[in-house]
Symmetry: C2
DNA sequence: TTGAAAGCGCTAACAC
DNA sequence: GTGTTAGCGCTTTCAA
């Protein structure tokens, strides 16, 4: 059992003042002037008794938990999510907000769990970081007036505050890089989305055609090692093998490198590869991989900032697009 | 501002019972019998008013926050940490505990921040996951009676509850694998620890000598891409090049593969490589890498379970060692 | 089987 | 400038 707390009452007694005064001093309450010696007496008592205000009592009074729920439905081991989390944490820390992590398990019950956490006062606002948020659920959140922000590479800003990145706008530039290497037949490989349309596909096709290059097609498959290998093997063994591949996500890119090597296809040279998205292995792979890297940390930071603004009834822009960047390495 | 809460008082009024009864029903309070129809009336009112008990009020009364602080001082993007977190979360979720994440920043102030969080009732117990915990700080925690558990690959169980793994005991077996491939000259490369002695070093040396193989030395350096590259280049360019390398952490292993390839050293064949520790890249590298893999998820799960036991005044063993496993892949 | 009432530790409106 | 006091929403003793 936790030992008995030192309360502000104890401090008040020790300092020979009222509990209210203790509160005034500790919170620097506006419009309340405290005599310097009184303040000092309180501070001394605080130190002497090793007093720590209870966040629960305070929160109860103010109806605030001083925590933000961070939600993802990707595996928590996802590098991108963790990198964002770093930004979120740095920003929230400044305002003394804690991070409460929530993970999607069974899709159905999950939205309820989120609401439950909010309703039970376990956090004051929500950041969805790389989490699927259905339009229905957005409606529900909006109706309930729950502060929330969505951070996602493919942000729309429709009906909600979102933070995204312009990485698809880097594609024409990436295509130019292929062209400069003499790679004119290009293919795309990446995950297969079932319910939604994947904006990457159109962006790729558009960029290839405006660049005047040849589109060898889209090679999509579920995000699963075996399927990816198979898909890419098919792609690299096809009659008109592409000279360049854009991978929708790093894992597809790495498998391109691996399978190309197994088939004796030289990268760079016979084939050029670039991926969308970051990982800690882009530098380590052989060859190291060129990529459109997302400003993950800043996205997190920016999302957290937006949420804080919303919670404090400040203005917050509904869509923030952060600039992403192409990092050239050996593979292209 | 959050809208006004529905309180248990409201529910009581709606159901025509007292607030106490609502509490009894909702908590299934022991030694209190409630007439079925009363119970039903309460439940109906709860549903009708969409009532959610406030964790803050409850926590205040019971002096519990129903949150556990999870602390790491490695970069949060560390794969091992994230995997552990998954286990921790799954276990805590069962008991309705939330996860509050804390990250080490400036070493000095950090311990105070942890205490501050505990003292202000922001969490009820602590899990150190891959975090440095000094003996002094352990003492402090013990003295204050703060429930905590340490999860670390190199656990000692001294003065605290710890969860670890026996991966170093897999080394003789790993050495045998090198031997079977005809690799008799072995080197170790890994991070350089400054303050503590690294148990991996002795374990490697012991295993090599009991296996009757030749120890080509320990090649240590700070965990930093440039230094690692340099160190490993030195190792692979040395006169009596080893035929096998044990990497203390995955990154060192991957650089071995990369640099060996650049030098035209064939892996496997001319050289065999294995790493301690897991990553998502082990399968993707070329060649894929043999490793002693840690039961990260279970470590997390087990640590969380131990903490829950401690917080509930149940018995918890002070040291739990989980079994790790060698996963053979192409590099050895 | 249920209710009345006290109190957890805090803040803030109001009084002096 | 500072104190009094009334809750915030809950649990739990004690009484009925």
């Amino acid at each position: 059992m936790r030992k008995k707390r030192v309360s502000s009452k104890d401090v008040a007694r020790e300092a020979g003042v009222s509990q209210a005064t203790v509160s005034y001093v500790l919170n620097n309450t506006k419009n309340v002037k405290i005599k310097p010696e009184t303040r000092q007496a309180v501070l001394d008592a605080v130190k002497k008794l090793n007093y720590h205000p209870s966040y629960m009592a305070r929160g109860m009074k103010l109806n605030k938990s001083m925590a933000v729920g961070v939600i993802t439905d990707r595996s928590v081991t996802n590098y991108n999510f963790m990198k964002m989390l770093e930004g979120i944490k740095d920003e929230l820390q400044l305002s003394n907000y804690a991070i409460t992590l929530l993970f999607n398990k069974s899709e159905e019950s999950f939205n309820n769990e989120i609401l439950e956490y909010y309703n039970t006062n376990r956090f004051d606002g929500i950041i969805f970081a790389l989490a699927m948020v259905s339009d229905d659920f957005k409606d529900e959140l909006n109706k309930s007036g729950i502060p929330y922000v969505i951070i996602d590479s493919h942000a729309s800003g429709k009906d909600s505050h979102e933070v995204g990145t312009d990485h698809l706008e880097r594609l024409p530039e990436l295509i130019e890089a292929f062209k400069a290497k003499g790679a004119v037949r290009l293919a795309y490989t990446g995950p297969l989305w079932i319910n939604k349309t994947d904006p990457r596909l159109k962006a790729f096709e558009d960029a290839v055609s405006s660049g005047g290059l040849t589109n060898c097609g889209l090679f999509l498959c579920p995000f699963n090692d075996e399927m990816i290998k198979e898909t890419i093997a098919g792609l690299l063994n096809s009659d008109i093998r592409p000279q360049g591949i854009v991978a929708g996500s790093p894992r597809y890119g790495f498998y391109c490198l691996k399978i190309a090597a197994e088939l004796g296809i030289k990268v760079p040279g016979d084939l050029y590869v670039a991926s969308l998205g970051t990982s800690i292995f882009h530098e380590l792979s052989r060859p190291s991989m060129t990529a459109v890297e997302l400003p993950l940390y800043d996205m997190g930071r920016c999302g957290a900032k937006a949420l804080l603004d919303i919670m404090n009834d400040k203005e917050a822009s509904s869509l923030t697009i952060l600039r992403s960047e192409i990092i050239r390495r050996e593979s292209l």
